[in-house]
């Protein structure tokens, strides 16, 4: 391994790392755990782009005499490094040198040993994290019981499951003749659309910008699932990260991501947390129900609240179908007569039970449920697209530690690859083209007729089809429309009424953290979605007559607590370095829980997506500019929800709590709106089937269609909307055929 650092630089790095995470009494420091070695090696590999920053930073510390200074002087220099006042420090855009180095140090402490850090799993041993385990037994999720397992690296995992093969795709080249439908985007939405279309006998070409994969990537590897994704791992999105401003008067800066977005085959279906929950009945009539009950004056200033162009009953059959395709586990809700139901009492009526029982309740979930019930709430297990029994060749959940952001090692978590794509491909009617980056929707006489795409070697082609379906993430759905212009659509397709990009909504994540002093909660066991939640404070499930806000949010206790990320989660009074940080984290890693809040974000006139004329992607095309701030309703509602969450946390036995800010920013993975659905072309971009009002032959599906953002994970509704839209595409294809033969 080439060491890119000189011996003096390495000496300063070692000294710095052992100051940030110092050795304790009988416990190893960062250098002994291998964190400095990891970073030094990474600078010759994946982090070569950061070498200059390290050199400058180490030079600045060296010039200040860091290597030979006494401990107190070293602490002053680390403080100056952290607050950016050390002379000679580099100041990269979007983060500080300390932010980056701190992140890399934590990777070196707690990554899988395959990456070169966490030597002999010493970092994991220190905090009691068992690493890559195939799964855990139910009893191991008991609160108060320490898990008695030796840590294990990924390399020691057994490969018990026998799973299906990689979906067959073809690399982008010349276009394919005879396509009935062209789907832009090989994610969940487009894949569900594709299966529906091929079942109706339609020939489908799917254009995916990224590369093929089986969907089990990054299983059990916290480092590759997070660091490399956010800092250069995602193939397309990182080249076109949107900018963000709070309002039209503020300057836009590069948005930082709470989570990376997946831009390879399967899209976010590989990385999602898999909560698969339907909207509530009144979510579809949010405007009329609110006005009827409380009066129009209760709608907040600057709102853009509207009803959806469909009812729950219209969407219900497609929810049923989507749940069957995914294999959703859950307990049906309804009234709790006699205490028999374990489901969500507010759940919309369902014609069918869930495909299989819910994920088991963890000890932590039971703790939450007990506290919630004491407070009069009705806790329930979140339904999830995670199997609890064998289903269509997939393996049931093993309750391992790696779920949201990770490919599932046994296909228990639904992805496009392990649900719809095998059947769609087996039909012979679907061709998945990878490495095809769509840059424009092509029209003829105002009608959409194809998609212009760029292959990985830079060649451009147009894939023609009788129906064009845009099925990418909310940002790219919006950008593609805005960047596709013709004589009939001078401001972009769908935008003749200036509606494209409006009413963007994104989930805020104002969680409440809770410490259970000295008590192992084992939150690192089990999928994220193995959660207990309450919906008593969602929507209009409680009376708002005496409140100064409308609507509400969901409070839930989720699993998954992985050490690279967790070591960055600190209460406000704990510093990011030194013995105080080390001691807090080592002591509390397994005693911290989080009450996750999903507040409803109302559509607002202020919040929208448009093009940033000053920032371009690697092809020289403008990136999306996000204008987003929380409004008056969220500013009142979120702190109130946080108060309620803290009450539950105290009921659970938390010894201290702290909370995140109400505004956590955009790119939340619940990014929605931008191509709003509606009946009226003057106030929406598409109809309720995703058909663009002003462009025949063009359908847009995905989270961008949303009219509002209920306090529910959006994925299941997005998939149901895609299946509903597919019916309209099939009908439109039939009509086109009639015209052609007439």
């Amino acid at each position: 391994m080439t060491d890119m650092l000189t011996p003096p630089e390495r000496q300063v790095l070692d000294a710095l790392f052992d100051r940030i995470f110092p050795p304790g009494e009988g416990t190893p420091g960062a250098v002994e755990i291998g964190a400095a070695e990891y970073v030094a090696a990474a600078l010759a590999g994946p982090y070569a782009g950061h070498l200059a920053l390290y050199r400058q930073t180490l030079a600045a510390l060296g010039a200040a005499g860091f290597g030979t200074a006494e401990a107190e002087a070293q602490d002053r220099l680390v403080a100056a490094l952290e607050d950016g006042t050390l002379p000679g420090l580099p100041h990269p855009a979007g983060h500080s040198a300390f932010d980056l180095i701190w992140r890399h140090l934590r990777e070196g402490l707690f990554c899988d040993p395959a990456h070169g850090g966490n030597r002999d799993m010493a970092g994991w041993r220190l905090i009691g994290f068992p690493g890559a385990q195939n799964g855990y037994e139910e009893a191991e999720q008991t609160v108060g019981r320490k898990v008695a397992r030796d840590p294990q690296p990924m390399a020691s995992l057994s490969q018990d499951a026998r799973l299906a093969e990689v979906p067959q795709t073809r690399p982008a080249g010349a276009p394919i003749d005879g396509a009935d439908a062209v789907i832009v985007g090989g994610g969940f939405v487009g894949s569900f659309m594709a299966l529906k279309l091929v079942r109706a006998g339609k020939r489908v070409v799917m254009l995916e910008a990224g590369s093929p994969r089986h969907g089990r990537e990054h299983a059990m590897d916290e480092l590759s699932a997070t660091a490399f994704r956010n800092l250069g791992g995602a193939e397309k999105f990182n080249a076109e990260v949107p900018t963000w401003r709070l309002n039209p008067e503020s300057p836009a800066r590069p948005a930082s991501m709470s989570q990376g977005l997946e831009t390879r085959l399967g899209g976010n279906s590989v990385a999602w947390g898999a909560v698969a929950m339907r909207f509530y009945e009144d979510d579809f009539e949010i405007h009329s129900k609110t006005v009827a009950k409380y009066g129009a004056e209760r709608l907040p200033e600057g709102h853009a609240v509207a009803d959806w162009p469909m009812s729950y009953r219209d969407l219900e059959p497609f929810y049923d179908e989507a749940e069957e395709w995914l294999g959703v586990s859950g307990h049906a809700g309804g009234p709790r007569d006699g205490g028999r139901s374990r489901g969500n009492p507010f759940e919309a009526p369902r014609a069918k039970p869930y495909e299989m029982p819910a994920l088991r309740r963890s000890g932590l979930g039971a703790r939450f449920a007990g506290a919630a019930e004491t407070l009069g709430y009705h806790p329930f297990a979140l339904p999830a697209a995670i199997l609890t029994a064998p289903y269509k060749g997939r393996h049931a959940c093993t309750y391992c530690s790696f779920c949201s952001r990770f490919g599932c090692h046994v296909d228990a978590k639904a992805s496009a690859q392990n649900t719809v794509l095998p059947e769609a491909l087996a039909s012979g009617l679907l061709t998945i083209v990878t490495g095809a980056r769509v840059t424009e929707i092509v029209t003829e006489g105002g009608r959409a007729t194809g998609a212009r795409y760029r292959t990985t070697d830079g060649a451009e082609h147009v894939q023609s089809g009788r129906q064009i379906i845009v099925a990418t993430y909310a940002f790219e759905n919006t950008r593609l429309l805005l960047l596709s212009r013709d004589a009939d659509h001078p401001d972009g397709l769908g935008n003749n009424q200036g509606q494209v990009g409006r009413y963007y909504m994104t989930r805020q994540q104002p969680s409440v953290y809770a410490v259970f002093d000295g008590e192992p909660v084992n939150r690192f066991i089990g999928p994220t979605a193995q959660a207990q939640a309450i919906a008593d404070l969602s929507c209009d499930h409680f009376d708002h007559a005496d409140k100064d806000f409308i609507r509400g949010g969901r409070i839930a206790v989720f699993n998954q607590y992985l050490p690279i990320e967790a070591s960055g989660v600190l209460p406000p009074d704990v510093p990011r370095w030194g013995a105080a940080w080390r001691d807090f984290f080592v002591k509390n890693y397994n005693s911290i829980s989080m009450l996750f809040l999903d507040p409803e974000i109302l559509p607002s006139q202020n919040n929208r997506l448009d093009l940033d004329d000053t920032v371009t992607d690697d092809l020289g095309r403008p990136v999306v500019r996000i204008t987003f701030d929380i409004g008056g309703n969220e500013k009142k509602m979120i702190p109130w929800l946080q108060d309620r969450a803290e009450e539950i946390a105290r009921g659970m036995g938390a010894t201290r709590t702290w909370r995140r800010p109400a505004l956590t920013g955009p790119i939340s993975t619940h990014d929605t709106g931008g191509t709003r659905m509606g009946h009226d072309p003057a106030t929406s971009v598409t109809d309720g089937f995703g058909r663009v009002h002003d462009t025949p032959g063009l359908t847009v599906v995905g989270g961008s269609s949303f009219v509002s953002l209920p306090p529910v994970n959006p994925a299941l509704t997005i998939l149901a909307l895609s299946l509903r839209a597919a019916g309209a595409v099939i009908a439109d294809l039939a009509e086109t055929r009639l015209e052609e033969t007439a």
Partner: protein, 385 residues
Amino acid sequence: MSPDVIVLGAGVTGGAIAWHLARSGAKVALVDAAGPAAAPSASWASAGGLRSQGRHAADQPLTLMAAARWPLLGAELGADLEESFGGHLHLAETEAEIPVIEARIAADLAGGLAIERVEPARIREIAPEITARALLGAYTQGDGQAHPGRVARAFAAAAAREGAALRFGQAARLLPGADGVAGVAFADGSALKAGTTVVAAGAWTEALLAPFGLDLPIRARGLQMLLSDIAPRDLLAPTVTAVGRNLSLKQLRSGAFMMGGRWFARPTGRGLETLPLDAHAAKQWAGAAAILPRLARHRLVHQWAGTEAQSIDGNPFIGRSLPGLYLACGFSNHGFQICPAVGELVARDLATGSEPLLAPFATDRIAPDAARLAAFRAEPILEVA
């Protein structure tokens, strides 16, 4: 440059043959429509038992050779094969079954195997959680388990390191030569020629040979496996089978229990794909729970089926056939453990022209009449209770 030998089929048998050939200096191409141990092949699906006991006399020299190889194979291949050597335990649960165990022990001792007769107290030591109904056992200490998919991938990778060419991802058929087989023809129209083509294609062999008028007495059958949720590790060291049950049961490194046996699965009509039958899964699980009572408290988490080539007399067909054609197929139920020996012996046979240990498996050793072969192939899938 055309290879000396093409091996068609990258399962454990084909992979072992390709690796041994390449190691001995032959120019080899390993060809598979998908890749090593691809679904729904036997190597993809197999439960991965390494069992030396209870084999046909002709198999005993091979199984002894292979048993000596297995403990070193992972190091030789430079791969984790998930191998472990907790032994194999065959049980009698009734007085009537005891003579079967005794007969197996006698036959295996005659063949030179280190097989032990184990009484209930010793059974309890070997496998403490086993049913108290176990009256007598036949125990082979050196047996164990490994992961067939990993083994097949390791063989292919090792063959490639020895210079073998890997041609995966395209369907291939046998290319006719002057009076036999000249190589393989790929779906895209290209061809690869070689002096010898080894067909190690399991259940896909029948279709490959049909254009040449060859009809080996084999049949394709889907066999299904079950997997339980995770238990504490190291509860069950040996693989367990029982005289009176259609079952093999083992605990994996993860702590999960795997149940195999010879339970037939349902053909789907999509190629040779088969799917587990729930009716069989229920009986399969019940049988396992009778042997290991704690399974009554566990859950089924995964089930699958793979399609295997079963030979009419239970023994494989290994050896020359038409000019240019060499066969190695029909291994169902006993191919995995002997695959290192088969690889070694086939490589030697191809080099020397005569390998006496393979003589009992000659491809023309039986020519069953049409009625018997038809009945063998028509045997019902569904077990009638």
